[in-house]
Symmetry: C2
Subunit: 360 residues, 2 copies
Amino acid sequence: MMATKTDISTLGEFGLIRELTKGFENRNTSTVRGIGDDAAVIGPIHAAVAGAKNPDAAATGATEGEDHLLLTTDMLLEGVDFDLVYFPLKHLGYKAVVGGINDIYAMNGTPRQITVSIGASARFAVEDLIELYEGVRVACEEYGVDLVGGDTGASVNGLAISVTALGTATHARITYRNGAQLNDLICITGDLGAAYMGLHLLEREKRALAGVDNPQPDFGGMEYLLERQLRPRARRDIIEALEQADLVPTSMIDLSDGLASDLLHICRSSSCGARIYLERIPIARQTYAMAEQLNADPVVAALNGGDDHELLFTVPLARQEEVARLGGVEIIGHIVRPEAGAALVTPDGSEIALTAPGHK
Amino acid sequence: MMATKTDISTLGEFGLIRELTKGFENRNTSTVRGIGDDAAVIGPIHAAVAGAKNPDAAATGATEGEDHLLLTTDMLLEGVDFDLVYFPLKHLGYKAVVGGINDIYAMNGTPRQITVSIGASARFAVEDLIELYEGVRVACEEYGVDLVGGDTGASVNGLAISVTALGTATHARITYRNGAQLNDLICITGDLGAAYMGLHLLEREKRALAGVDNPQPDFGGMEYLLERQLRPRARRDIIEALEQADLVPTSMIDLSDGLASDLLHICRSSSCGARIYLERIPIARQTYAMAEQLNADPVVAALNGGDDHELLFTVPLARQEEVARLGGVEIIGHIVRPEAGAALVTPDGSEIALTAPGHK
């Protein structure tokens, strides 16, 4: 922790993860996929043991029925990931769970169990934590997930929350980031940038009302943005619609870091390029309105804002009509050869290379 | 977060957990055991789905082979759970993993996969985190565990670490906290109080050397205490020995909060009382020596110090000889009727009721 060392920001988040985990080897045959996707994939449990004698056990394990497990974990820290000045504790508990289970959906699986750990400083009372857990409970109920464990302790400063989600998946339906193919259609659910604009609205009102007694923030007409920031939904509906349509995406990722960053993940994992079209990116009317008020670019909010909790996925070109019938899904572009890179195409036909802070 | 609320400390850690989780219901039949043990128990994966049609699927699922999963999670926060003034980052990474996998062993299972999340403030450099992950890597290698995921982010203050461990277990061998029976023998592995005394030694040297350039702490003769605090081992050897002896404990718990607290967990879960004998509690020579230097009571260190990372378990009286043959296990008492409560018996025959801060 002395000088002459390398600042973490020089590597970017994903470069840092690669650096930290490069010396690790997997030993259990049940580890189908480790680091590098929305969730780890664990093969049939028997394979973990059988594998000791037969290294192919995981590969030859049952491939029908929901026999694979998905495991993902997220940590949220006060002051970095949330601000309790405007984030109600109940919503925070709900959102923390949604973040975890949306990672399970992003693998095309079903969330089953979660654990929630909290570290809270002395400024939190029992009633505060009950409020937080009420949000956890509501999310568990809505998504049919069981709270099965956790850890409760003290913290020196603020609140820390860690959520782990465990899900199940059918082997043949598991969708990784690395399966996108040339000419596949790039699809997204919902609209983008609204959660980011909601955050800016909340920050603006926080600044405006700092020190005011009994503050009355002005959110008139912007409730949609607040809901997207404070109470995002996990896209179970889309996962169920995909299954009913017998459609398995070739790749999928949870839109949490912004469209640019998450599409770059798919391109890197799938060794491909991408073209997305500016005019096809779904942006809500209120996102435009808020961007105008704040003198911000709504497209930048969509590309780099993050926190959308929507799904980004690819499907073969031949499935275009079925995708259109899903409802709530927009086709925003297609996969191209890797040499072409990932770019946004503007209405005049010019291309802007996609970049994101975490990718260096 | 205003006044007139209930301070968290009034409930105790375990009372708080009960309060926070009392409104939760389990919906997935694969959830065999949720909150309230060292790890959650998840039944055969197929049962999660079959259960939708047949609620008994989990109960009637396969009971041979390692077909059950164990899931546990722990969060460590700087300033509460560790002090980087004397805790080397590599050891911290190692210890964080050991804490997680020892919870899997405490269920009589085999750890398979872990996730590690970190939140680090700007004072940490890439090299610091590499050191931390080197400790994680060594622990993974020693215990045959795969690092399969995690989350890497920023923190406002200090370092936060969250470890989730996933393990497998044979249904018939899973050992809960709630199976202790009248007259069962109470057994512990290793010796107690050393990690706590190691912590006090490190704290003493930290105070003595505060502000000194190039400090040379004096640990002469107390290396064992430091090792117990800084590099605890998970007790895989005992779990393997139990299996070889075809011995399934009736109850078991990881000794992390101190013998008193952890024995009270077994008594509460198993609805029983306990008598343990002062002169049978294994305390290392160096623990006695350090306690003398610090004018502290080594028995208090054993009962309430915590951080021992040993196993506390019960076996039927009839298995006494087999337990003795295991090696490294001490029989320190026996289970009594619930009305008799849990107490420590001193050499003169008087009884001291066991209490622990987390239990209120």
